[in-house]
Amino acid sequence: MKSAVITVTSGKGGVGKTTCAANIGSALALLGKRVVLIDGDIGLRNLDIVMGLENRIVYDAVDFVEGRCRLRQALIRDKRAPELYLMPTAQTRDKSAINAQQMKHLCDELRSDFDYILIDSPAGIEHGFHTCLAPADRCLVVTNPEVSSVRDADRVIGLIEAAEKGPAHLIINRIVPARVRRQEMLSTEDIAEVLSTEIIGIVPEDENILVSTNRGHPVVMNGKSPAAQAFHEIARRITGEIVPFQPLRSSGSILQRLFGRA
């Protein structure tokens, strides 16, 4: 199959980009796809920690770009899935270490060996974001159900459209159905009205995430937790499968549950 470069981004920091990238990438790999995760957050690398592969880094993406190693040497194999690799980034450099052209070249080199190339973009809309956007075939925009991250997601979706990388697909992360019901939190409908872009996943708030992040073990690897299920569904939707949205647990009216919309 033709490979796809998917950039995970958000504008605002701390909404769960890295968690989404790690779990969706792992879930795709568990479906038998050949997956590589690229950490695009040069100087603030996190993806290796979330994946639990920090102590296996020898070379990184910047080493490859600057010619200090071969492509394969900058890839860390994750043995928990058949074909899952991480390309970590440098912690001692900054965003200027890789430009858009180099990132495109890096992805093109990986295309022949992988089905999905996921890039974990840095927060913000500056240089680092544009570098990660440049090679993208598709974009996943992560937002939380609160006004400021939705506002930033809107800005980022506009930039993605302007770069002709759209339409962006939206992931609503950390939703708490009970709080939506009490109108303390934006609902998926509220968010969809403002952003008017296709929603590819709704991930409930899940205490297992914190534990799994600290242990370097993505929830999708062993879990039937609510968030793990949501990430598995997103992975299947990315492959083109039509997966109906599960009603969020204990959420919505009876009618909403009947119609499968949370």
């Binding site: 930033d152 809107d154 800005r155 506009g158 930039l159 459209e161 302007a162 403002v194």
Partner: protein, 256 residues
């Protein structure tokens, strides 16, 4: 008195019958007070019956240059003024400058790619005179009909849409997006961002939206912030903002 209005291709600055030097100062004040709006723009200068020397023309050209405005055409009824303009190499009719005046570049910054923009401009007849067989009175009729820009899309946070004439948006204007128009603003959708109508000083300009929930509205020099309660109301009736007694009021929209 100096008046400025939006044309299809840019702006037209009209000089009245008053004293030349005082009108020149008036223009300078206008350029200064809306510097951001004018910068990068193109103008047609209509001098009507004023009789100006080459020096006068050079002065006004220099003034426009200083504000980043390019003078594309001089319209003059006085035969000496017209001759002096030609001597300075300035086109003296709109049809002569055809193809030179184009929609102000910055008006669609970030919103449409360069190609889309060209296509959109190309959709309109660009030569006003050709619609009327090149007759001058035809050109004037075209000018009096107000010029507008129609944008069929949703405007997202951080996007700015600026036009010297009227602005019509078919779609929602999200929070954080900004509209700036020399004339009126019409949003066929929900207006949640900010809107500035009559940005060149036209206090009769209005802002209408199917769902009116902006963060800030401005008309000419007046501004009005909208309270959160006004913004979150579930109102589906079209509303309109206009200036009444020097203040912006928001009223239910009614067909006249």
């Amino acid at each position: 008195m100096v008046t400025i209005k939006g044309l299809r291709g840019g702006l037209q600055i009209n000089f009245g019958d008053g004293l030349w030097l005082s009108q020149l100062r008036e223009l300078e004040t206008k350029l200064q007070s809306n510097a951001r709006f004018f910068r990068g723009g193109q103008v047609a200068l209509n001098l009507h019956r004023l009789s100006l020397s080459p020096d006068d023309l050079r002065k006004v050209q220099a003034l426009l240059d200083r504000h980043g405005v390019s003078l594309r055409v001089v319209l003059a009824e006085d035969i000496h003024t017209a001759a002096n303009a030609i001597a300075l190499g300035l086109p003296t009719s709109l049809s002569e400058s055809n193809g030179v005046i184009s929609t102000q570049d910055k008006s669609l910054s970030e919103i449409a790619s360069e190609d889309q923009r060209r296509k959109r401009v190309a959709d309109y007849p660009t030569d006003a005179a050709s619609d009327f067989g090149g007759r001058t009175d035809g050109v004037i009729a075209q000018m009096d009909a107000s010029d507008g820009l129609l944008v069929r899309r949703r405007l997202r946070s951080g996007q700015v849409l600026q036009h010297s004439g009227h602005l019509v948006v078919l779609g929602d204007v999200n929070p954080g997006a900004q509209l700036i128009a020399g004339g009126d603003i019409i949003v066929w959708g929900k207006l949640s961002g900010s809107a500035h109508a009559g940005a060149l000083g036209d206090t009769t300009a209005t802002i209408c939206a199917l769902e009116f929930a902006p963060s800030l509205v401005r008309i000419a020099d007046a501004a009005r912030a909208c309270r959160p309660s006004e913004r979150t109301k579930k109102n589906t009736k079209p509303e309109m903002a206009l200036i009444k007694d020097r203040e912006i009021v928001i009223v239910a929209w009614q067909a006249k």
